[in-house]
Symmetry: C2
Subunit: 380 residues, 2 copies
């Protein structure tokens, strides 16, 4: 589920796998979980028709996975996936929710007369104790660009603790995608940044003149702070397919049945993208994800369902795409190739936010190679 979050100071400890940092649970709740306690936020996600249809179809077109089975819903929110699992025939559903939204989930379960099947448990899935292992783990855990929020860590933990051998994951697979794009936003953000720096200059002069207080030693850190804010922070956008100017590349593939936290701590990828539009500009890159509901090899889905957040005219989702802008843009045309090196790590200050390094080399259709450039970005 995509949610807005300020990137702020915080330690970390989640005890869910090698290499993970220590997350302070109080800080984690104050910064992250609490946003999900708002009904307005749940409504936003429930109103995402593409999202809801995918899970609805995945469940009801694969009732064999649910009928007479036990299910764990990680991060049940309003309880909808748990209720659908019960309606698809589940014998028992454990619906775990860390926030007080669990009380609303319990109310809705009762309103649907499913309290004998669906048991809502308030707490984190790392801490909760179930009376039995389950056949299915279902969860809508995806953040912007898939891994923002790092909620999949919790799903992995739930899987390792509670999924029976031979059990299935819903969704079963996930992929991250990236493509070169064009966008007017780059110029706008550069203009905003320049405005902020002009403003700073005027402020410096005013303050020096009026109070004899000289802050010019802070111009460099201020420009870094503003640069990060205006130019280096990825943006939420609902891209139009026409903005995608070259071939999209898969930069990460995840098998939800076998992935470890270590597998997702650091995402690295080298890919080539061919420009497909004539005489255009490379403004930056758009990142998105898709997930699939395929069941497992030994227990496959009867009907495979896909949920994609790729740029779309009619089927946009609340996730949008994450946009990484270059300053300045690069003039580019059909036949040019981009050699892309992508690295994503978790922010040291907040394990639910990301830092990205993009290295890009343009090879013109003429054969000429531009010097490679590397940019740092922040997914906040």
């Amino acid at each position: 589920m995509g949610s807005h979050q300020k990137g702020e100071h915080g330690g970390s400890s989640n005890g869910s796998g090698g290499g993970a940092v220590v997350v302070d649970k109080g800080v984690d709740f104050a910064q992250y979980f609490c946003t999900y306690a708002f009904l307005y936020h749940q409504k936003e996600m429930l109103s995402d028709r593409v999202r809801m249809d995918a899970y609805f179809n995945a469940i009801f077109e694969n009732k064999h996975h649910f009928n007479g089975k036990t299910v764990l819903d990680v991060g049940t929110g309003s309880g909808i996936l748990a209720i659908w699992s019960a309606q698809a025939g589940a014998r028992k559903v454990y619906a775990v929710e860390a926030t007080k939204m669990s009380e609303h989930a319990r109310t809705i379960v009762k309103a649907h007369n499913l309290q004998d099947v669906v048991e809502v448990l308030e707490g984190s899935v790392e801490d909760v104790t179930l009376p039995e292992k389950v056949d299915v783990i279902i969860s809508e855990w995806m953040g912007y660009f898939l891994l923002r929020e790092s909620m999949f860590d919790s799903v992995i933990c739930a899987r390792d603790r509670w999924l029976k051998p031979g059990g299935v994951m819903y969704p079963s697979h996930a992929r991250m995608w990236m493509a070169p794009i064009r966008s007017g936003l780059g110029d706008q953000k550069k203009s905003d940044y320049d405005g902020a720096m002009d403003d700073w200059s005027a402020f410096l002069e005013d303050t020096k003149e009026h109070y004899g207080f000289d802050m010019s030693v802070l111009t460099k850190p201020f420009s870094e702070e503003q640069r990060k804010y205006y130019l280096q922070t990825s943006l939420w956008q609902n891209l139009h397919p026409h903005q995608v100017i070259g071939t999209a590349a898969i930069i990460k593939e995840i098998d939800c049945l076998t992935a470890t936290v270590n597998d997702i701590l650091k995402v690295t990828s080298n890919s080539i993208s061919s420009i497909t539009l004539e005489n255009t500009r490379l403004s930056g890159f758009g990142g998105w994800f898709d997930v699939h509901f395929r069941g497992s090899k030994v227990n496959p889905a009867q009907q495979e369902i896909e949920l994609t957040t790729a740029p779309s005219i009619n089927n946009g989702t609340h996730w949008g795409q994450q946009v990484f802008l270059l300053h300045p843009h690069i003039d580019i045309s059909e036949g040019d190739d981009l050699s892309l090196s992508f690295t994503m790590n978790r922010s040291k200050e907040n394990h639910r936010l990301m830092e990205v390094e993009l290295e890009c080399e343009v090879k013109r259709s003429s054969g000429k190679q531009l010097p490679p450039f590397r940019n740092k970005f922040y997914i906040e």
Copy 2:
């Protein structure tokens, strides 16, 4: 200093006086302090000419308080008050700052060649250790409507630990004010709320029709959540003096030399306000504050300075005023009187945010009394 802050879940412990709750320091840092680590935020406060002039004049027109003396600056931020104290002749200034902004303060101190006088200490003033007690404690601690952010707790702690007997506080006094106002915002917020509820109804129907998922049991909690957000949360406004429709009343007075945390945990006041505008509407109430720099009785200021955040055409501040709106407004006219009962407590979830209860009785100039009404508000 006024700053925007999401009101979120968090425990609390600050050990600064009887009755105070336990504040989790990690959560407190993640929710509150961190916003002050941004240069952009410091710039906003430094750009507030009314604020800066008041402190500048308070210091430089009362050099006798600083010359050859020791000073503690609580929450030094960029270091400006500490530097001014040194420039006014202080022998030694301890500039305490909880965030990494302290590093910038140290840089600026050095740029002004004052590192032998001004010592910047990173840490909370509750934890820091000074080599000596001080003659003056200076701090810009005021939040929206004075007490939002509860930073004065830290100033009290600093005073009790580090101020010499006979020492002075800068500022020395503070007051909270309230007045009846008119505003077009009330209608707007009501309209936004109605829109949100209409939207919810449509959402309920859609979800029920499309997925057989009935969330009508959540209409009541959703409406409460939206009501709190649109109608009961105080708003930041820069009121025009023409919007003040009746006499303003002092609802709290603080002597910074003697106040205890207990004195400010709960603010209660009964006051009368006379309407001064004919045929107008009571849309709600505006709250603001002023502080004074008077020194102490035994060591008074030579030049008393006032910093007020009352509604003003030319001398507005970044604090604005806090506006508490009534729904619906009340038609009112010159000669009518308002009997106002005001209570403000700290939020249980976050001691830096407030909950307000306003009880109001209108007595018409005719003598007729309207039934009293009571409203709850949140300062987030």
